[in-house]
Structure formats: structure tokens, C-alpha cells
Amino acid sequence: MIPVPRPAGGRALFWLTVTACVFAAGAAFAALLALRGAQLAEMDSRSAVIVRVLAPDDAAAVARAAEIAQQTQGVVSAEAMSPARAATLLRQFGMAPPEEPLPALRLVEVETDGSSATPGALADNLLGAGLQAELIRGPSSSVAQRATANVRVAAFGGAGAALLAAAFIVTFAGAARGASGAATMAQGLVDLGATRGQVMGVFGGEAASAGFIAGLTAAATVVAGLVALRLHGPDPALALLIARMTPIEYAPLAAAPVVAALLGGLGARAAADAAFTRAAVKP
């Protein structure tokens, strides 16, 4: 087929497409990471229970409560919370522990298998042993579950909006690419007897190639970013999440070149279609 001229502002349009693809692939990837993180948090909230011993008010009651918890069906581990462990948890939640040593706590940190029956059984066993206790944080509280559900919706909503915006950008960049060349070349092609399909093919093909290369560049950029985050990222948990991504979760990156090529080509074909109509017949 006849080569098209280099479009005016072609380099800018190329980098605009790369930026949009990075934006879209990054958003999709971030949504997947958020989903994975939310799933882990939800699992964690389901399996974590804190028991606060109310009476009797002594260290022996706390040790007894931990022992009963360990014997309860569905409990994976149970341990009285030491002041050092409490200080660690405070730091994890972004709070600074007091400088003076923490007093002895009447808390038992329990990890269950996630079954909804386990907390009830634990409460019954504690009561049966003459211990007054409350389950401070457990699966009966739906706040954590609602939060993770909200994170999921926000992640996918945000990623969807980003993908849609990027799709428009890539399509219009393709259209601009096509329109720029078509303005000067379509008339010549039409005069020589090019069909509408040929004119659209000439510009669509060029823009699709440019879109594919831009998509590849974008995918490589995002991969480089992920590698950098994994190796030098500020949060080890994020590095762990990235390391745990499965091949299917890399699909947005693999799709970026193909989708960019399709959208860019479609945009350019639309522009060439309009140019063909203008050039075909004068009144």
C-alpha cells in the first residue's frame, strides 16, 4: 500500500498515546493490586479476634482465657498480648507507643480459621469457665468487610474510568494522526481511484502500527515501574503483593499494545472516512 506522510505533530501524538496507555495499564494494575490487598485484609479481618478479659481482673485469668481459646475448635492460635506486641500493633496503625512501659494488658490475640461459628464457640467456652470477656474485634463486626467491599468498588470504578478516559485519548490521538495526513493525501488517492476502504486502510494501518508501538512502550514502562517498586518500593507489603501477582493479572499490560493499535486504527479510519467523503465528489 502507499505509505502515508509523517503526520504533523506525530511525535507528540505518539507520546500522548504512550502516556494514555501507561495511565490505563497502571490504573488497571493498581485496581488488581487493591483487589488483592482487599481480599487479604478481608481474610485477615475474618480470622482475627481480640478477647478482652473483664473478670477476674488478674494475669491468671488472661492466661486461662488464652488456654481456653487454644482448646476451642476453629482456633488456629491464641496468645496473651504482651506489652511489646501491643507496641508493635500501635506502630502498625500509625500511632506512637508511649515512652514509659505499657501496663500488663488483659487481651488475648486469637487467630481463627475464618469460620463464622468459631467466635460464638469461643465466647461460650470462656463463659463456661467462669470468665467474663468480650470479643473486641471479630467477624461479627461488618465494618471491615464493608470497607474492603468499598475498596474493591472504588478500585474497579477508578480503573474503569481511567480505562475509558485512556480509550478516548488513544482513539482521538489516532483520529488526529489520520486527519493530519488525510487532509493532504486523501484527495490524491481519491483522484487515482482509491476506494473508501483503501483510503481508510492506508491511514488506519499507519495509526494502528503507531498505536501498537506506543502500547508496547507503555507496557514496558509499567513493567519497569513495577520492578522498581518491588526492589526499592517504600512498603515491603506492596513488594510482596506485586511478587504474588499471577500471570493472568498481567493481562492489562499484555493487552495494552493490541488495544492501543485497535483504538488508534479505528480513530484514524474514522478521520480518513471523513476525508474520503470530502474528497470524493465536488458538487
Binding site: I2, P3, V281, K282
Partner: protein
């Protein structure tokens, strides 16, 4: 210059036997355009012959060329090309008929980003995969017209005279059934103009209907075939100049 190779007659449009009437390649019957540049024009371009239209600037010659090369519609009357009524063509058929028409414009539309040889071969590329013969023929025609075909520079760097000769080479190398030349010798040196005319005359021998539009009365009178006069969008009946 291997003219016999460049313009060898095609099997499907070989010249008919002497005395046998050829169907016109193009025919207008009382045709008018909406802008009034053509007014009830009846006119035909026989296959395998030269037809000249002489008229001053603004007479409607370019409008006539645009109608015949399917770039402009007639709003009244009829227009036939190669036996097909052009008023009933769909876009695809219109495009396919255009491929049988070579056009040499006063201001040719070239692909400025391509080289000379790529421009000459562009019409053929739209139709088929190029053969070595296509490329050789195109190079022969262009070389005959004094163009450097090995030059890979984009034609945007060519002079006006080179661009006009390139447009002639492109139209002739296409081996069209109808060749329309709008002021083909304007702006060319006498030697180049002579070569262009020679190519056009040669084309008719392979069955091509050649239509030359000019405001050069001497040139028009020197051409063999029908000579029509045109003024204010109206055609006068033709005189005939004996074939030389």
C-alpha cells in the same frame, strides 16, 4: 525510450479494425453543472483518438475535465463513461472507473512525501501488486520526460516543471482508457513540451481516448482529431483535423 513497450496495447482494448466505429470512452448529453460552469454540453471522446478542446481561461475546460474524471457531478443531462451512466454509480464503482482514467492537472496533486518513482507507480499500486515490468515501464516513461527516477528525494523538492512532467509520467504509465490532459504543455520548455505531446499521441495508438484541454489555439489546431471550442461553459460543434 522503448515506447512500444511502455504503451503496448492491452488485449481487452486493442484498437479496432479500420473503418470499424469505436464506442466513445466518454460522452456527455446536454450536461450542466450546478455552478453553471457547463451549460447543456453535448460532447464525446472517441476511444483511440485525440480530442482537443480549445477555449480561453474561464471557459469551463477544467469543469469539463472534472466531470469526465468523476470529480464533479452533472445536475442535468447525462454522462456516460465506458458505457456506464455515471449518475447511477455507487462510490465503489465510481472509484473503479476512476482507475481507468489518467489525469494531468494544471496543478497536479502529487504525494509530496514520496519519491518520483513511488508517485509514478502509485495508481498501479492501488490496483495490483507491482511487477518488475510495471517498474521498468514507469521508469522508461519518466526517463523519457527527463526525470531522474533513481532520485529518492521526496517530490516536494522538485521544481514546477519537474512536477508537471511527473504528473504526465504518472498518467501515461497508468495506461488508462481515457487520458485527460489539462494544459499539458503549459510551463514546459519546448523540448519537454514536445516530448509530452509525443507521449500523448503515442497513447492513442494503444486505444486510449486522449482529451487535451488548452487555451493555446496553435497547439489545439496542430493536433489530429476533433477540435471543439468552448466559451462560457458552452461547446461549439467540432471541426476535424486530419490525423497526421
Amino acid at each position: 525510450m522503448r515506447q512500444s513497450e511502455v504503451n503496448a496495447p492491452r488485449q481487452d482494448d486493442a484498437p479496432s479494425a479500420p473503418g470499424q466505429a469505436r464506442p466513445p470512452a466518454a460522452r456527455l448529453v446536454m450536461a450542466s453543472t450546478i455552478d453553471g460552469l457547463l451549460e447543456k454540453v453535448s460532447f464525446s471522446v472517441p476511444a483511440g483518438e485525440i480530442t482537443a478542446v480549445y477555449g480561453p481561461a474561464g471557459a469551463g475546460k477544467t469543469a469539463l475535465a472534472d466531470v469526465l474524471r468523476l470529480a464533479k457531478r452533472v445536475n442535468a443531462g447525462g454522462c456516460d463513461l465506458f458505457g456506464e451512466n455515471t449518475l447511477r454509480l455507487n462510490a465503489n464503482r465510481r472509484a473503479h472507473l476512476k482507475r481507468r482514467i489518467g489525469f494531468i492537472a494544471q496543478s497536479p496533486t502529487l504525494f509530496d512525501h514520496l519519491s518520483a518513482i513511488q508517485n509514478v507507480l502509485a495508481p498501479l499500486r492501488l490496483i495490483r501488486r507491482l511487477s518488475e515490468e510495471d517498474e521498468r515501464d514507469a521508469a522508461d516513461v519518466a526517463q523519457y520526460l527527463g526525470l531522474k527516477m533513481r532520485d529518492d528525494r521526496p517530490v516536494a523538492f522538485m521544481s514546477g516543471s519537474e512536477r508537471r512532467r511527473l504528473a504526465v509520467a504518472r498518467a501515461v504509465a497508468q495506461r488508462p482508457d481515457l487520458l485527460i490532459a489539462d494544459e499539458p504543455c503549459a510551463g514546459l520548455a519546448p523540448d519537454a513540451a514536445g516530448r509530452v505531446l509525443k507521449l500523448l499521441l503515442q497513447s492513442r495508438k494503444s486505444g486510449t481516448a486522449v482529451l487535451i484541454l488548452t487555451q493555446d489555439e496553435d497547439l489545439a489546431a496542430s493536433l489530429p482529431g476533433d477540435l471543439w471550442r468552448m466559451a462560457d461553459g458552452i461547446m461549439s460543434p467540432p471541426g476535424h483535423v486530419a490525423a497526421s
